[in-house]
C-alpha cells in the first residue's frame, strides 16, 4: 500500500480530524508537524492554493482541506464506514458537517471577543449550538448513532478545544444546564480511545 503522510499543526482541530479518521480506519501514517510561521517546501508544494494544514499525501498525491480529506479517507478505506450508505442519510450527514463550517465563525468570534463583544459572541454561539443539539444530534449518543462518524469528527473541536477556550475566557457556553445533550456528547467523545490523550496539555 502506498505511504500515507499527514502534514499537520498540533494545536489545530482541523489536523485532529484527520488523525481521528485515520485511526478509526486503522491506517498507518507518518505525521509531520508543520511550523506555520516557517512553512516547509513540502507544504507549499502540496498545498499551493491555500498553503495550510492539514494536507494528506497518499503516495505522491496531495489532498488539502480537512473535509475533502475526510471524504477521501472514507472512500479509499471503506472498512468501518464513517458515512451512512443511504443517499438521503448521507445528505443529512453532509448538511450537518456544512453547518459546522458556519459554526466556526461563531467559535472564532467567541475566541477573539472580549467585554461586550464576548457576551454577544457567547449568546450567538449558544443559539447556534442549540440548533445543532436539537435538530442535528437529537437523542442520539453520537451524530453517527451508536458510534462516531464523520459528523462527530467534524465537531471534535466542541469538546476539548471549546473547553480550553472557555477556561481562558472565563465564560462557559457548553454546559449541562444549557446544552445537556451536546455536553454529554462532548464528554462521550472525549472518552473514546481515538480522541483521548490526543490533546493532553492543550
Amino acid at each position: 500500500m502506498a505511504e500515507v503522510k499527514l502534514y499537520g499543526f498540533w494545536p489545530s482541530p482541523y489536523s485532529h480530524r484527520i488523525i481521528w479518521a485515520l485511526k478509526l480506519k486503522g491506517v498507518e501514517y507518518e505525521y509531520i508537524e508543520e511550523d506555520l510561521s516557517n512553512k516547509s517546501e513540502s507544504l507549499l508544494k502540496y498545498n499551493p492554493v491555500y498553503k495550510k494544514t492539514p494536507v494528506l499525501v497518499h503516495g505522491d498525491k496531495p489532498i488539502a482541506e480537512s473535509l475533502v480529506i475526510l471524504e477521501y479517507i472514507e472512500e479509499t478505506w471503506p472498512e468501518n464506514p464513517l458515512l451512512p450508505k443511504d443517499p438521503y442519510e448521507r445528505a443529512m450527514a453532509r448538511f450537518w458537517i456544512q453547518y459546522g463550517v458556519d459554526t466556526v465563525a461563531a467559535l472564532r468570534a467567541f475566541y477573539q471577543g472580549s467585554g461586550e463583544e464576548l457576551e454577544k459572541a457567547a449568546t450567538e454561539l449558544l443559539e447556534s449550538l442549540k440548533i445543532l443539539e436539537e435538530q442535528g444530534l437529537g437523542d442520539k449518543r453520537f451524530f453517527g448513532g451508536e458510534s462516531m462518524n464523520l459528523v462527530d469528527i467534524s465537531y471534535g473541536a466542541l469538546g476539548y478545544w471549546l473547553a480550553a477556550v472557555e477556561e481562558v475566557k472565563g465564560v462557559k457556553v457548553l454546559e449541562p444546564s444549557t446544552l445537556p445533550r451536546l455536553h454529554a456528547w462532548a464528554k462521550n467523545l472525549d472518552e473514546l480511545p481515538v480522541v483521548k490523550g490526543k490533546h493532553s496539555g492543550l
Binding site: 492554493v49 497518499h58 489532498i63 471524504e71 477521501y72 448521507r90 456544512q98 453547518y99
Partner: protein, 222 residues
C-alpha cells in the same frame, strides 16, 4: 425516474447556487417542479423544509428536503447515478473535484456576495484584484480541458457555471472585462452555454444585472 417520484426545487430565479441544482437536474434528465420563493416574505413551505437556515435552494424529493447547494448536487449525483455522472469514480479525482468546488464556494461565491453589498467606489479596496486573480486561477485549473470534469461536464462545472450569467453584473460593478482579463474563462462560458442543460438553467445576464441593481439600491449601496 419512476412515475411516482416527486421532485420539487424551492429556489429564486437569480440565485447562482440555485442554478447549480438546476444544471445537475437537467444533466440527469430529472423532471421537477420549480417553486419561486420570495426571500423577503418567506413561505411556510420554505420554513418547514429548511428550518435551520430558512434559505434556498432546497430540493424536496418524495417529501424529504435536502439543503445546501453542493450537498444537493452530490445527492442528485448519488440518487440518479446511471446518467451523466458529475463526480469521477476515482477517489483521488473525486477529492480534487470536491476541493475545487469548495474553492468556488470560498473564493467566488463569498466574494460575489461582497461585491453585491459594496459600493462601486469601494470595490478596489474590497479585493477586486483578488477576485480577478481567483478567476485566473480557475482558468489555470481548467487548462486545455473542455470542462473541469474533463471531456464531460462535472461537479466543478456545476458549481462554477452559474457565474457565467453573473459575470456581466460583476464586470459592470467592478469595471473589468472578462474577455480581456480571463479570455479562457470567457470562452469556457460561451462553450458551455451551447449545452441545453446549462442554457436552460441559467438566466439572461442583462436580466440578472437589472435585478442586481435593484437589489443594490434596496441594500443602499447603489
Amino acid at each position: 425516474m419512476a412515475a411516482d417520484e416527486q421532485v420539487t426545487l424551492l429556489d429564486t430565479w437569480a440565485s447562482s447556487i440555485g442554478m447549480r441544482v438546476r444544471i445537475a437536474l437537467a444533466e440527469k434528465g430529472v423532471k421537477y417542479e420549480f417553486i419561486e420563493q420570495d426571500l423577503w416574505n418567506k413561505s411556510g413551505l420554505l420554513l418547514q423544509m429548511n428550518p435551520v437556515h430558512k434559505k434556498i435552494p432546497v430540493l424536496v424529493h418524495n417529501g424529504k428536503p435536502v439543503c445546501e447547494s453542493l450537498v444537493i448536487v452530490q445527492y442528485i449525483d448519488e440518487v440518479w447515478k446511471d446518467k451523466a455522472p458529475l463526480l469521477p469514480s476515482d477517489p483521488y479525482q473525486r477529492a480534487q473535484s470536491r476541493f475545487w468546488a469548495d474553492f468556488v464556494d470560498k473564493k467566488i461565491y463569498e466574494h460575489g456576495r461582497k461585491i453585491m453589498t459594496t459600493k462601486v467606489e469601494d470595490q478596489e479596496a474590497a479585493g477586486k484584484k483578488d477576485f480577478i486573480d481567483t478567476l485566473k486561477l480557475m482558468e489555470g485549473e481548467l487548462g486545455d480541458k473542455p470542462y473541469f470534469g474533463g471531456e464531460t461536464l462535472g461537479y466543478v462545472d456545476v458549481a462554477l457555471l452559474p457565474y457565467c450569467c453573473w459575470f456581466y453584473t460583476y464586470e459592470n460593478i467592478l469595471n473589468f472585462s472578462l474577455e480581456a482579463d480571463c479570455p479562457k474563462l470567457n470562452a469556457y462560458c460561451k462553450r458551455c452555454l451551447q449545452k441545453e442543460s446549462v442554457s436552460k438553467s441559467l438566466e439572461d445576464p442583462k436580466k440578472i444585472y437589472d435585478f442586481a441593481l435593484k437589489l443594490r439600491k434596496k441594500l443602499g449601496v447603489e
